[in-house]
Amino acid sequence: MSGGARAYALHGGVIAVLFALQFILPAYHHGNLARIMVLASYAVGYNILFGYTGLLSLGHALFFAAGMYGMGLGIQHLGLIPAPALLLGLVAGAVVSGGLALLALRTTGVAFMIVTLMFAQAGYLTILYFGEYTRGDEGFVIQQAQRVLWGIDLSDAGNRYFAALILFGSCLMFSLWLVRAPFGKVLVAIRENEERVRMLGYDIFVHKLAAMVISGTIAAAAGASYGLLFGYAGASFASVQYSIFPLLWVLLGGAGTVLGPFIGTLFMFYLIDLSSGVTTAYMLIAGVALVLLTLFAPQGLMGELRRRVWRGLP
């Protein structure tokens, strides 16, 4: 089997396993896994910018929230039905990430991190400021009647799982295709040595801009789906914490690996889920994990696997 066929077989296999799991998982873990798949889609989007292009953004919550509120406000205030509302969320994510990219890509390194952090914070505060429409921290519930997509009630656990699987599967496969395509190879080359890529005649700015818009739009798709599937949109999804989470998931799972974001999300979700039974200070786990990962395993779980077992792992 060629490397490409093996890669597609592996990732297709993961999706097949996730499909099969819905029939055997108990209700609690069934619900968790649906949530993890949506959040993992967010991490997949983050990984395209951070893992493959080497741009560390601290403001992805802005894109997640753009999708969530683009969808949520569309339903709440424009009276949209779910399909166009989802589309509105995606468009909002693309526009916001494109706009931020135009500004933030003028900087590099630490400045890029701070600029994205600041604009995301401004976005979060803006959501609070327009509390009249967004209901601020408290957020708003999207009623069950407003969550019927093409006759399918997304508040039903089975449908929800299936919708999450479709979202995650398409994000995963898209990301696999992208990083194996010439465009993705240029992104990796930019990550490794920007000057050399520039010298070879590639337009760095355009590639980074495209990577950021793709990454932001996937994050927005995850945000919009999260709101629609779980029936809630709130400002906490725009807070700094939700910018840190995808970074943490991707670092844990392995930056620059296609499956890493899912593995990282899965592990961290259950780690926090287990610890929240013991203490309310569950973010402690996130902090400790961040420090340990940067210190001892900057490659993450899948990165280690790639180093030790399968060097061609995409």
Partner: protein
Amino acid sequence: MPGNPCARMDLGPYIVLASLEGAITAAVLALTAVGLSLVFGVMRVVNIAHGEFFMLGAVIAWWIAHMLGGHPAIGFAVALVAAPLIVGALAVAADMTILKRLNYDPERTIVATIGVLYIIQQMTLMGYGPDARPVEPPFNTRLAIPWFEHGADGWAMIWPWGLGTTSYKLAVIGAAVVLLCGVWLLMSRTRFGLVMRATQADRDMAQAFGIPVERVYALVFGLGAALAALAGVLIVPIQQAHYLMGADPLLLSFIVVIIGGLGSLPGTVLAAVLIGLSDGIISVFFSPTLAKILATLLVGLVLVFRPQGLFGARSG
């Protein structure tokens, strides 16, 4: 309400009051931001956990005051010395165990300090709890401020209701000025300051001349954290100690350090005064959320379009 000058407050006294509050913000902010700026200037790393050192200072001050009991001045005086030392030692330990191993790589350091932020914040939540707790100021005489008004019988001195401050608040401003002068003397007049400036100018050259760069880094990180903790101790009698109180000082310090020009101490202090005063005045007239939105956008835009800061000179 004519004939009852005590019951109203015109715009003038209002602005005086707002500037006074602003001056206190500026004083505390300058201390915190100078700590952040020092770390950035010498070590070239951004410490996201800086606000948590501020918070730790405040929480330790409460803890010491609570343990010692007695006259509030005793606990406060002990806290003023002990809190910066404890927090500084903690920061030195964090530097030696974490930052040094990362070789002060700027991006990885940011990620690691985000981790440190959550560790400190959540440990405080576990140990200290989610409540906001007050610390009694060591002295707290109310001082009313007179106002001059042109009435029917010429200029008259009145004492508008609500226009006043406390001796403690004035002392905070004084203490911050003294401390900032101390930092300046340390940087410009002592051997340690010289070593710090040498390391800032050229790390490798400093190392070649036998300066123990790693020890300097650890001490600078500790000093920066100690300054933040001192600011926390000073503010806690005015504002209560709470485990989430580090977020605002962090954001404001960022704004100040970036606008003042990264790593420039005079620029940092100037920006702190400007931001502190305008924050006090703006939040009287606008919603605090709107003020914060404008402030964060300003930082982002300054970094994009004028990365050397508004006061910094363009270098190279």
